[in-house]
């Protein structure tokens, strides 16, 4: 996936200024940055929730800017949105079934999701509204996996969750990559994100302020890029 010099507006203001980044197949890329830096805006643009006509956004070589979000899922671009957004009037099982609505071929199924997140199996017929934050996040991830994504983008999955739960969720990530899924992870929890990522970008006020492999980035680099000092 490639993003080239992308400008993106959100409501009345400009959220992204000439952002360029690329993600190679099979990578895990982390995007970190403070609140409002534009990380979510980027993911939403790639997912198609925010429109971006023009050649700026490309997937596997072709421009996807004109496609509406639901079409991009058919291509294998799946977003686990910020705030989980599970469907409250559906059960856990039904949420997963909706995740598989696109019927993309692949190895993910409800049984496999249950084996990765056993807690979901226990709650299979409960209404999604009745789940705790961590359970809902697991459900949201499982729901995204049901689409058999080639590119899975996760927006702030650690938000509002206890550290132990976050550890558990991140434990599942390498397994997902091993399936052949490319991952882009937006995170406020810098430590967790850099621990799993192959490469990282840091966003500051709508621009890329730092990029590189986690092992090569010093704490000072990161702090400077994160806070703009």
């Amino acid at each position: 996936m490639e993003v080239d010099a992308l400008d993106q507006h959100y409501r009345d203001f400009q959220a992204l200024f000439g952002v360029s980044l690329h993600v190679a197949e099979g990578e895990i890329v982390a995007i970190i940055g403070a609140n409002g830096a534009g990380k979510s805006t980027l993911l939403k643009t790639v997912a198609g929730v925010l429109r971006s006509p023009g050649p700026s956004v490309r997937f596997e070589g072709s421009t996807i800017g004109e496609l509406r979000a639901y079409r991009r899922v058919d291509l294998g671009i799946v977003l686990t949105p910020e705030g989980r957004r599970v469907f409250p009037s559906l059960t856990v099982r039904e949420n997963l079934e909706v995740g598989g609505y696109c019927r993309r071929p692949g190895s993910w199924s409800i049984e496999r999701i249950f084996s990765v997140f056993p807690l979901l199996q226990r709650l299979a017929d409960r209404s999604a509204a009745a789940l705790s934050g961590g359970e809902q996040q697991a459900l949201a991830i499982g729901r995204s996996l049901m689409a058999n994504p080639r590119l899975l983008m996760m927006d702030e999955i650690s938000l509002g969750l206890a550290p132990a739960v976050v550890k558990q969720l991140y434990g599942a990530i390498p397994g997902i990559r091993d399936e052949g899924t490319t991952l882009v992870i937006v995170e406020q929890d810098v430590t967790q994100a850099l621990r799993v990522a192959d490469r990282a970008y840091c966003f500051l006020e709508g621009r890329v302020s730092l990029q590189g492999e986690p092992s090569q980035l010093t704490r000072d680099d990161i702090r400077a890029a994160y806070f703009g000092i």
């Binding site: 929730v49 509406r68 979000a69 639901y70 469907f87």
Partner: protein
């Protein structure tokens, strides 16, 4: 025992009202839009059946074979081309646009068909009845109508609860944007929902055309009956709508028994009473507010 007869008639009438209300309730549940043209569209179906019957001389119920798909198509197209465009602007545009559609259709009917009363003749079935006791007789037609209503409601409930599309429908009602992330074409879903709503309204329209005479200005009262059934029964529940329809039907029948002119008023008063005592209706689904 004349009262028992009255109540039974009211219950059976309730089936018709439930059919009126289903389309209104479905559209509101999925899109949070109150379709002010719903009554007029129900009426349009009756006129459509009238035209078909005039041209082909078939039984009105057979006309349903054409009316249902046509109404579905009408709903689908109207939603895609018009109503979907109003959804971004807040509460006012959908209301005003559907009101405009209602005005247009009602006056078009007036122009084309004049203000005369019309009726659909379904033949003997309208008058044949089963005699239960010497005070209680149930007409085949009202009974069939009630059964049809229950079947349609049940079918719709099953469709929404058990099918893949029904899940997509419920997901889109919950969270339109998140549904898009599941490869669900939300515009299409909305259009299908409107199509279903109008198809059911089509069934209701044909049945009402058989049951009584109708004229171009009746759209208003049909909308009001549908609305009262929805509110009495409680938002968000199809079976609640059936109960609401039954209560409305019974109230009206009792009112008519007391004095012929009180038919409508009795229904309105019961509606207002429910509004005062239990504004959320009798069987509301949680989380859905009027």
């Amino acid at each position: 025992m004349a009262w028992l007869n009255t109540i039974v008639q009211g219950v059976l009438l309730g089936g018709l009202y439930a059919l009126f209300a289903t389309g209104l309730s479905l559209v509101f549940g999925v899109m949070r839009v109150v379709n002010l043209a719903h009554g007029v569209l129900t009426l349009l179906a009756a006129y459509l059946a009238l035209v078909i019957v005039d041209l082909t001389d078939v039984n009105p119920f057979l006309a349903l074979l054409v009316v249902i798909p046509v109404m579905f198509g009408l709903g689908y197209v109207a939603q895609r081309l018009l109503i979907n465009l109003t959804l971004a602007g807040g509460v006012l545009p959908p209301l005003l646009v559907t009101f405009g559609i209602a005005v247009i259709i009602e006056n078009t009917l007036l122009e084309v068909f004049s203000a005369d009363s019309q009726g659909l003749n379904a033949g003997r079935i309208e008058t044949v009845s089963i005699t239960i006791t010497d005070r209680l007789a149930i007409g085949w037609f009202p009974l069939g109508l009630f059964v049809a209503a229950v079947v349609v409601l049940g079918g719709l409930q099953l469709f929404v609860d058990r099918t893949r599309f029904g899940r997509a429908l419920r997901a889109t009602s919950d969270d339109r944007e998140a549904a898009q992330l599941m490869a669900i074409n939300d515009r299409h879903i909305y259009a299908v929902a409107m199509g279903i709503a109008l198809a059911v309204a089509g069934i209701a329209g044909v049945f009402t055309g058989v049951r009584t005479t109708f004229g171009p200005l009746d759209g208003a009262i049909l909308l009001i009956f549908a609305f009262e059934a929805v509110i009495i029964g409680g938002l968000g529940s199809l079976w609640g709508t059936l109960i609401g329809g039954i209560i409305l039907g019974v109230a009206q029948s009792i009112g008519a028994q007391l004095s012929p002119g009180w038919f409508q008023l009795a229904g309105h008063l019961v509606f207002l009473a429910v509004l005062v005592i239990r504004p959320t209706g009798l069987f509301p689904r949680e989380g859905v507010a009027a």
